[in-house]
């Protein structure tokens, strides 16, 4: 098996153009990533589109389970925080019950990452439209985090979120985080924040968490791999 250390099963929105190459860029050797896609009614990132996409999660998880991954992740932050605290866990439970494979969601792994870093107050950077940002603040508040600041690039088209370059995300994050925060969280698996984690950590002094980084960290820790891949302070945990 090429992935003899770990096979990660990823459910990604069909329009996602960042997650798969990002995991392959950072995953340790002998860890493989296998993807299945969730259909989108349209490219625009609306609440309704995400809710409809969730109806396909169990079917897609069952298809993906055929390659016998060690863990399954719903690699979509918005779809997993939309329904508030516990909504994420319910999706993960459905994935587990339908496949028998340990499962999580992007939003769940971000919560676990922030907890591992002992974060109470967070600055959030997103590409999302405003109604999505509002839901995200509610989700983090319900999990006990104070959101000092949330700044968004307000991109409506989900595919276009994946086209923003990492250097632009760096500038946007550095210009918009709150210095009082314990960490910066860059949200969205179709957003290239992961590539500037180290630059932002060095330059701001704060831990930086991204959706894809948190998913990869959770997957490796779940199978018992304590490896530090050098992708931010999170991987020291």
């Amino acid at each position: 098996m090429k992935g003899w250390k770990c096979k990660i099963g990823l459910l990604v929105p069909a329009i996602n153009i960042v997650a798969e190459p990002t995991y392959y860029q950072y995953a340790p050797k002998h860890v493989t990533i296998h993807a299945e896609r969730l259909p989108r009614e349209e490219r625009n990132s609306t609440i309704e589109v995400h809710m409809k996409m969730l109806q396909h999660v169990v079917g897609a998880a069952q298809t993906l389970a055929q390659c016998e991954p060690d863990v399954l992740i719903l690699a979509d932050t918005t779809a997993s925080f939309l329904q508030g605290k516990g909504g994420d866990l319910k999706i993960a439970r459905e994935m587990e019950e339908s496949t028998g494979i340990r499962s999580s969601t992007a939003s769940t792994t971000v919560i676990e990452a922030l907890n591992a870093l002992s974060v109470n107050k967070v600055s959030i950077i997103t590409p999302y439209p405003s109604y999505t940002n509002e839901r995200e603040v509610v989700f983090f508040n319900e999990y006990g985090f104070k959101v000092d600041q949330l700044q968004s690039m307000e991109i409506l088209d989900s595919l276009n979120m994946g086209k923003v370059y990492p250097d632009d995300i760096y500038r946007f994050a550095r210009d918009n985080y709150d210095r009082e925060s314990d960490a910066i969280f860059i949200s969205c698996t179709n957003f290239r924040g992961t590539e500037v984690i180290k630059d932002l950590e060095e330059d701001t002094g704060l831990p930086v968490v991204t959706s894809n980084q948190a998913c990869l960290w959770w997957a490796l820790r779940s199978v018992g791999m304590g490896v530090d891949i050098g992708l931010g302070k999170l991987f020291q945990k």
């Binding site: 069909a14 153009i17 190459p21 896609r37 069952q62 390659c67």
Partner: protein, 241 residues
């Protein structure tokens, strides 16, 4: 964009654990692969399961089309050759019609690889059951490439194929190829054979083609990339027509 040079859509059998990581091992920077899966109705790698999987090809192609790839490849050799000559091309056309994106299949890619290497007769070596080896003889024979030696490891469990180690593939090929062959082909996008191409070519002096190597070569050439990835004589070649 991560895929600033090109974005590739891949359809793999749901059970496949090898093709995605193999592509990412060898792909040049700036080319990304995005995958959708075709569900299988059994975990047995036989003729029937491969044919029935194709019922899920169009819907998987439509899914991966949503990320707007430049090219879509159905990454399975067996499913695209077991029904005989021309079926691979028809599948490609059907996927193109459904997505509006250029599409092809691994069996088409393997034929193009043989053409580029001027292969007339070859050894067909596979992890599979004999029934699949027999179908391969017909498909490739009808396409003008004679199978002068066919050998299969007789693995029927879908998860058994990616579990075969590259070293075991090397030894099986060495024990089973016919030295009169113009090329040795090892079947299955779910087998770890691509890592052995260079070593087998050096040891046996015969060009080696594998499903993933031919797929990657074909897709890159169709997209206009002339890069030589150094994985066998095939990568010294362009598409021959």
């Amino acid at each position: 964009m991560k895929s600033w040079r090109s974005r590739l859509g891949l359809l793999v059998p749901a059970i496949n654990c090898t093709m995605e990581p193999t592509f990412y091992d060898y792909l040049p920077d700036g080319i990304a692969v995005h995958t959708a899966r075709m569900g299988r109705h059994t975990m047995i790698s036989d003729v029937d399961t491969n044919i029935r999987m194709l019922e899920n090809a169009v819907s998987a192609a439509k899914l991966v089309a949503q990320c707007e790839p430049d090219f879509i490849l159905l990454g399975c050799t067996t499913a695209t050759f077991v029904q005989g000559k021309g079926i691979d091309l028809n599948i490609g056309k059907e996927l193109e019609k459904a997505t509006g994106i250029p599409c092809s299949t691994t069996s088409t890619a393997v034929c193009a690889a043989f053409k580029a290497l001027k292969v007339k007769k070859f050894s067909f070596i596979a992890p599979h059951l004999d029934e699949i080896v027999e179908r391969a003889k017909v498909f490739f024979g009808d396409n003008g490439f004679e199978v002068i030696k066919g050998a299969g490891m007789a693995i029927s469990d879908s998860m058994g194929i990616p579990a075969v180690k590259p070293e075991e593939i090397y030894r099986f090929i060495k024990q089973n190829y016919d030295p009169r062959s113009d090329a040795i082909f090892f079947n299955s996008t779910n087998s770890r054979s691509m890592d052995m191409v260079q070593i087998i070519e050096e040891d046996l002096g015969i060009p080696v083609v594998t499903s993933n190597q031919a797929s990657l070569w074909f897709v890159l050439r169709r997209l206009g990339f002339q890069v030589n990835l150094g994985v066998g004589k095939l990568f010294e070649k362009g598409l021959s027509d």
